[in-house]
Symmetry: C2
Subunit: 687 residues, 2 copies
């Protein structure tokens, strides 16, 4: 039924107007001007006709068969209008009117009423406080915004109406086509996640893009987005990533913005590509819609000028991609076809005097070279030949191969026609070649995610749920992680100094002593931890210092933990955090006392498969260090992966744990495992 | 005399052509078409007239008074042409012809000849292998590139001809004006640094921009660029920042690309703003040419739509700037003038229905608020009023204040006229509001640099040169740094084990023992360093282990250094590196064995003033940690600053030191100084 928003049979505009300054006029104008082929019924009791269409005085009088109402009446009247729509079996409504939850208290109550009425009458609603929908293929345009993008393959879902207006205007100027566009407004009923499904299942839509300020249901989003990403590329631009931006979101829509880290982790998990700017979102979308994914990250640059190619190479390398080392065959061939002074190494510079034929031969050679995964073709402005000729040959040659090609026919004043040709040939163009780097990176990110999902499906191995509710209730975090096969150092609690001496001698020196107290979690801060104790004398001294520290800080000491001191391991942190939107997240990074200073941590949504655990490790400096740094031997990365996977299932199995942190987890050398030296947890309020 | 390149009296075009496909035709066409008011003399022995101008068969026959020759003849003929120019007292020549050093061996020889001839004949040369010069105010256009930017205040110096062609085409499309443009080609004679002076001293030029792949003389550049930056903003885009890009530079022009870190440090030192992309360079240039610098980093955002404002806030915060907390007065006032549902907090959202008058009142209030240092005005596309009206009021209101204003009238198809108005009012516009963040950041960077220079001039305190050449020759690095008032831990060399025991007891436990050997610099890697020795027994054990390690690794041991072990200090690294282009650089950051892993280092060009030393510290995590992290007391930052300044002068005084590194330098708590635990140096080959 949501499909009706994009392919209605007959549209009634409630609050249609003859006044060109009113929104109710704009909606009628757009329906007519952008050639909606179904019936259009203006409803306005004061007019007999609007823009040549017969006007109806009331919803009651409308002919049968209307399936979509666009509502442009004052907020207070909307619930009543919906009731009447219900009576006439109108199943879908776009409520353009503002004055609901975005204005605070009273408006929010009105929105609740609207929701109730819609539900009772079986009407699905987009809005209120929205701009409406566009489908360029149907075609239908229910918005009041002047202009309509040309037909294309990009779907755009927006939680900001202004962004839709901006995109429509920009798309017309840039000549980028769209399939479907929708502005969701306050999302009283239809959510971004439902809309992803509708836009995603449209056969004309090859890429889904979205501007989102919040997600209505994190878990559902993860599930739907992942399913969607498997079928089509899904690019999102998240507004409110900074704290100040998030505050503005909440004053803007009242939605919860959520943490930047959690959103990024969720997008990564679900294979959603997160763009940094609007320009980037649509750069990526065009390339993903038009070009095949690259097989690897080795890029070739073909150019007629050094400077722009150098800037592109800088950007490509900065994005973590590689500059292909061309094969000898390709270089020999290029030498035979290019001018003598041309560079046949990557970037390949055909020099200013070369024309479309030389470009064709060079591009063909690069695309045929198995060391090349993708090609960027740069043309700096020149007067030898028309940019359109280059556009033709680049488009045609690219079409003969299954590797992505991005063009950068530079300049602005003289290249419009060339861009049209490239677009027709489905080759994206960027005005500045540096922008290609981010496009290639996004394409490779998608390719790698798809391989990861493939791996996960083939090698899925979850971890069984262990019965540990009792331990959790009693905050026995040490024993809890042991149940999930995570090892602790040998340790025992001492109640008296003599106890401490006996235990230390049994465990064997060196030992660590830690105050046990409810009051302080960072016990090092008050001198409650003593490490590297190597004799009875040192244990005695440490006991005195710790008990004194407890007294000074008025911490009720429950004893002292004596632990075998682990030496020569690498300190990492493994943690469970819980995001209000997306649930359990696993954190990994450099551990010890300076965690928050160095911020060398990475986060992923639980549960983790092996490859996700590996990616989490690879994203950190701690991960690089584990591979064997300076004189240190390679660390037991396999054991760390097992620990991350175990923790991720522990988090999934027991949602009542709000936080669980192992810091430090000591990683020993390859084959020698890991040891959880300090484990702390917390229960959620409901837990 | 270099001025003549931009304001010649009479121009001869050697190699002028009647064939529209030849460069020698394009040059004549541009001189005529872009209204050069002096005389134009085509030289071509086969033609009698070109484009209506009388043609001369030889340079000999030219009338007197020619001061600039544009040379477009085959490479081999160029030296002879220059000789003839010399005879006719032509003082300046632009050599467009290619086929010189950029083609390798023979071409390089030819270029040497050209240089010699030019020098002998007192001719200054731009090129060869260049595009020429443009001055929009003279006006003169000696290039063959179709199109000419409109008059403006941005000067552009380029080491890539293609970049000039791209910029001309882009500037015409974007409506951005330029004052002077020059392409330098192979720089056989006139260098980028000389050209900076010529373009910088032009009264029409308000901002200097440059695309540079290399710098001809680092020290001279530093000096000239700093002097220039004091007068005018100077923005540079550096090509070849990545290793691959640098390789492409060297195959492109044969120039040395130099290290990215050194270039960035040099630009920072000289107050040159380093842009990341071409778009960024010209975004910054426009704003710096047109708008005043902000007094601080508190930005206000004024908008008619939530989404775009949120993206802008995200970008502003990410750039390290602040979102101003508006004063109560401003908020009260805004409440009285804006629609009820409008947001009167920053970002200020006037809502979609508001027009130019509301924008005017709100912008006036924001610019009058002393909590606001700069304003971004966003207008999402709407149908209530014409964007031109907003452009008028924003331009006019901005002109009443002395704070920078950037506009983002979004969209593309409908805003061209509005942009013209904004440009006339000298308010820069960006199509996507996020781009404003980088502009404001660049402006603030310039303001802070100017304050720094001001401070330096007022508080300059160098350090006297000490007579330490003898110590340097003998590689006595420990003693060397002591001469510059940097303290070492108490220490002594032991030749035998008994020696070691006696010395340790005198110094007091704990001690550190370090093998002394020429062969290994990272002695920890082979077990040559033992720390935390607390008894005679441990010293004995350590002695055995170290001597064994020396034997195993065939390192000739020259004794063992016994050092008082410093505890509870923060480990940092302070180093001198020498860049082939810019000379002595000072490095600071997190020290210890993981320096290269964490890469928490920052670099500055020596010598350092106090504020530069502070900036160097502030750029690192080590610096943040010194401010007092967790339970650690605040560290002695003053002592670190003194050490950095001392090292920077040591580097300047003794250029024969190629490298000097203190790692770790132990920083004790505030007031307790620093201790250089390990000092290593190296002499340059010439030293």
């Amino acid at each position: 039924m949501l499909e009706t928003f994009f392919s209605p049979k007959a549209v009634a505009v409630i609050g249609a107007s003859r006044d060109p300054h009113k929104l109710g006029y704009g909606v009628i104008r757009n329906l007519i001007e952008y050639k909606f082929r179904g019936d259009i019924y203006p409803v306005n009791k004061h007019a007999s006709e609007i823009l040549g269409l017969n006007c109806y005085a009331s919803i009651e009088e409308l002919p049968d068969g209307v399936d979509l109402a666009v509502v442009v009446v004052p907020a207070g009247v909307v619930p009543d209008v919906l009731k009447q729509c219900g009576k006439r079996s109108i199943t879908n409504a776009i409520v353009v009117s503002g004055g609901f939850s975005e204005t605070g208290g009273e408006g929010a109550e009105l929105e609740d009423e609207l929701k109730k009425v819609a539900e009772e009458n079986g009407i699905r609603i987009i809005g209120p406080n929205c701009i409406g929908t566009i489908d360029t293929h149907t075609p239908v345009n229910t918005t009041f915004v002047v202009g309509m993008p040309q037909q294309g393959e990009i779907g755009f879902i927006s939680q900001s109406g202004a962004m839709v207006a901006a995109v429509i205007d920009w798309a017309r100027g840039a000549g980028v086509g769209f399939s479907r566009i929708v502005s969701l407004g306050n999302q009283a009923d239809v959510t971004e996640t439902e809309m992803m499904d509708v836009v995603g299942s449209d056969s004309q839509t090859k890429v889904i893009t979205a501007y989102a300020e919040g997600i209505s249901d994190g878990k559902l989003f993860l599930e739907k987005a992942e399913a969607l990403s498997l079928k089509k590329p899904f690019v999102i631009l998240k507004g409110g990533r900074s704290e100040k931006g998030a505050a503005a979101v909440s004053s803007h829509t009242g939605a919860l913005a959520g943490s930047e880290v959690a959103y990024s982790a969720a997008f990564r998990k679900a294979g959603v590509l997160e763009a940094g700017t609007m320009e980037e979102m649509f750069d990526w979308a065009r390339a993903l819609a038009w070009q095949p994914l690259p097989k690897g990250k080795r890029i070739a640059v073909l150019t007629n000028a050094g400077g722009p190619a150098i800037l592109a190479v800088d950007a490509i390398v900065k994005a973590g991609l590689e500059i292909s080392e061309l094969s000898d065959e390709t270089r020999t061939y290029l030498k035979s076809r290019l001018p003598k002074a041309a560079s046949v190494n990557n970037p390949v510079d055909v020099l200013a005097g070369s024309g479309p034929a030389t470009y064709t031969l060079a591009l063909e050679a690069l695309l045929s070279d198995e060391t090349v995964d993708a090609v960027l073709v740069i043309q700096a402005p020149q007067d030898w030949f028309l940019p359109v000729s280059l556009a033709e040959v680049v488009g045609e040659t690219a079409g003969l191969h299954n590797k992505p090609v991005i063009a950068s026919i530079m300049g602005k004043a003289s290249v419009d026609e060339a861009l049209n040709i490239l677009h027709k040939r489905r080759v994206p163009n960027v005005a500045f070649p540096e922008r290609a780097a981010s496009i290639f990176k996004a394409m490779i990110q998608r390719k790698e995610w798809m391989e990861m999902i493939d791996f996960r499906n083939k090698h899925f191995s979850g971890i069984d749920k262990r019965d540990v509710s009792g331990l959790i209730k009693e905050n026995k975090w040490d024993e809890l992680v042991q149940q999930y096969d995570i090892k602790l150092p040998e340790q025992k609690v001492a109640a008296t100094m003599n106890d401490a001496i006996r235990i230390s001698s049994n465990i064997g020196y060196p030992v660590v002593m830690k105050m046990i107290s409810d009051k302080y979690s960072h016990k090092t801060d008050i001198g409650g931890v003593k490490t590297g104790l190597r004799s009875e004398k040192e244990v005695r001294e440490a006991w005195s210092i710790i008990t004194e520290a407890a007294e000074e800080n008025q911490a009720k000491m429950k004893g002292v933990l004596i632990q075998k001191m682990i030496e020569n391991g690498q300190e990492v942190i493994v943690g469970i955090k819980r995001d209000p939107q997306f649930g359990a997240m696993i954190l990994f990074g450099t551990g010890g006392t300076d965690v928050e200073l160095y911020k060398d941590t990475s986060t992923a949504i639980a549960p983790l498969c092996e490859i996700e655990a590996q990616n989490l490790i690879d994203n950190t400096i701690a991960g690089r260090k584990m591979q064997g740094w300076r004189n240190a031997p390679k660390a037991d990365i396999e054991a760390v992966k097992e620990t991350l996977i175990a923790m991720s299932y522990l988090a999934v199995h027991y949602p009542e744990i709000s936080e669980l942190e192992i810091n430090p987890l000591y990683v020993m050398k390859e084959g020698s495992g890991v040891v959880a030296v300090d484990v702390r947890g917390a229960l959620s309020d409901e837990g």
